[in-house]
Amino acid sequence: MKPPSKVQRTLRIVVVTTVPEHVTDESARATQARRNTALRIGLLESGYDIVASLPADIFLPERIAQIQPDMIIIDSESDARDVLEHIVIATRDEPRPIVLFTDDQTPSSMDAAIDAGVTAYIVDGLQAERVKPVLDVALKRFRREQKLLDELSDTRRQLADRKLIERAKGVLMARNKLTEEEAYQRLRTMAMNKKLRLAEVAQRILDVEDLLG
């Protein structure tokens, strides 16, 4: 009978670091990159072994097969998540298959993880209590950076909304021969009647404009 192993070796973690493709704004990309860095620092400071930070490119499955990590952490918004799903299915018959961390006993951890924007893929059989502390570090870091991202995205959204409203006012002024003030009042009235935000009403007007050509 083998003696029980006393030393639990450090978890070997891979962080997939690509900034999501749909994030095109320069400063948002910089913030995302900072978020990835903060996550890596957080994990290292906590004593976890980050074996690799990998970009989400076509060689990711190969590199993961070579590295055989215990855990892969990726941004929930990354379009490269589907690459990892493929690895999950492809490895399910192998000695250490990788699964999405959806342990049914800890649904709230999974919800919290996804809310914070981190998705974890772990090797099957890895006890939840080993996974949890790593996730906690990841969540804390992600949440802190998420707050910054949210503020940035709010600012950008406000700017985009203003542009939409300006354009929609322009359309109403041209089509209905209104003054700017009248056009604005028209938008406000529609928004109140339909219980929509001003920007949503503006988008609908612009969509109709696209339709009518």
């Binding site: 999501p20 493709e21 749909h22 989400a56 490119d57 076509i58 060689f59 499955p61 929930s76 918004e77 990354s78 379009d79 490269a80 998540r81 589907d82 690459v83 990892l84 799903e85 493929h86 999950v88 299915i89 492809a90 399910r92 018959d93 699964v99 999405l100 959806t102 919800d111 996804i114 998705t119 988008q203 609908r204 969509d207 109709v208 696209d210 339709l211 009518l212 050509g213």
Partner: protein, 391 residues
């Protein structure tokens, strides 16, 4: 008279329906249902939520962050049957479109004289190197059509070549860089690869199976069971949008304009419009008007949730070993595809519905699929995953 039929006992259980969609041309019926105000007509409000990965779409649907989604038909059935670890009872409300996907091969292959399936098969057989092909999701439509196409040409997609999942945004750049030889995906990705010179269209999905099922409008079974009236209204609204799309070329032009915007597909209008009209070019000098372009409605025929459509994906999952054993194909499809609810919605929208639950198709290799004997159908393909001992 809007709202006349959605008052009283038929009133939607919830009015705001969060609908996930991917930035693909075939999200059109869902997006246009919102843009045209058809949701309003049926007493609901569509809250469109753009997603960035199919797994993200699935997770949000399962967690209830979104209520319904524009999904890969195959992926939805994968979740129903627990392929890849996540199992949940799902529902198909309707089919959103047929046709319109493509298989794109690299320009480098064309330069080597490989422009069609037989030439590709000959090159693969020579064995000088390993060919790699990408799809969008391991259980999804594009994977199943890619595998079917390769196998019909005598290529075993699991053994003779490497098949990988690549995010669509990376497909063209990987083709150009020589990291892979081809991919199967939807629009506008296939047209983009054409326009940027990285690839050519070797086959359309309608070449593989004319009028195949496409993306489904899916949800969890729990959501549909708890909100049947809202779902009925939603189906009716999307049916009207689908009908509008098919009704006139100008409508599809207008849709292309709307879809091109950053909030939806975020692509050049030209990359979207041509194939919406069935105008194809393959990048090697061939231009044609396709007899089976993307169709969103076909007088209701395209939207009906045929049980045989759901069953086909399951037979292909079985064929490739994603399903390790046969399931009760007919019973699973009967509980997933909400035919009864669809029929009620079709009445509301004034759309005819076929009486049969299955339909008969002939695919590119001459094989007939009509929903009968699914286990035998899955087992009869000469190229399939050979069962592992003890598996």
């Amino acid at each position: 008279m809007a709202h006349a039929f959605v008052s009283g006992s038929d009133r939607p259980e919830k009015t705001v329906i969060r609908a996930g969609f991917m930035p693909l041309t075939d999200c059109a019926p869902l997006v246009m249902a919102s843009v045209l105000g058809l949701d309003d007509k049926y007493g609901i409000k569509l809250d469109l939520c753009r997603q960035h990965s199919w797994s993200g779409m699935r997770d949000r649907l399962l967690q209830g962050e979104i209520d319904v989604a524009h999904v890969l038909y195959g992926m939805l059935y994968g979740v129903e049957n627990g392929i890849g670890g996540v199992t949940r009872r799902m529902a198909v409300l309707m089919n959103l479109s047929r046709n319109g996907q493509s298989i794109t091969l690299s320009r480098a292959l064309a330069r080597q004289g490989i422009a069609d399936l037989p030439q590709l098969a000959a090159a693969v057989r020579k064995g000088a190197r390993r060919f790699a092909f990408a799809h969008t999701f391991p259980t999804g439509n594009h994977a199943m059509f890619l595998y079917y196409w390769l196998a019909a040409g005598g290529i075993d997609p699991l053994r003779d070549v490497q098949a990988v999942t690549v995010p669509p945004s990376q497909m063209a750049v990987n083709l150009a860089a020589g990291h892979m030889d081809g991919f199967c995906a939807g629009e506008p990705w296939s047209t983009r690869a054409l326009l940027d010179g990285s690839g050519f269209t070797a086959a359309t999905s309608q070449d593989i199976w004319p009028d195949h099922p496409g993306k489904a409008l899916g949800a969890t079974a729990a959501f549909v069971d708890a909100n049947p009236h809202a779902c009925r209204s939603l189906i009716a609204a999307v049916l009207e949008a689908a009908r509008w799309l098919d009704a006139a070329g100008e409508n599809r032009d207008a849709a292309a304009e709307v879809l091109s915007s950053p909030g939806y597909v975020n692509a050049d209008r030209h990359a979207i419009a041509a194939r919406l009209h069935g105008e194809y070019e393959n990048g090697l000098g061939r231009r044609w008007i396709d007899p089976d372009p993307v169709r969103f409605h076909s007088d209701g025929e395209a939207n009906f949730p045929y049980l045989s459509d759901g069953m086909w994906f399951m037979t292909q999952h079985r064929r490739w070993g994603l399903l390790r054993d046969d399931v009760d194909y007919a019973a699973v499809a009967a509980r997933v595809n909400r035919v009864g609810l669809y029929r009620e919605a079709a009445v509301l929208a004034g759309v005819p519905a076929p009486s049969s639950l299955t339909r008969r198709s002939v695919l590119m290799d001459g094989k007939v699929w009509d929903g009968s004997a699914p286990a035998a159908y899955a087992a009869a393909f000469p190229i399939r995953r050979v069962a592992l001992a003890g598996a």
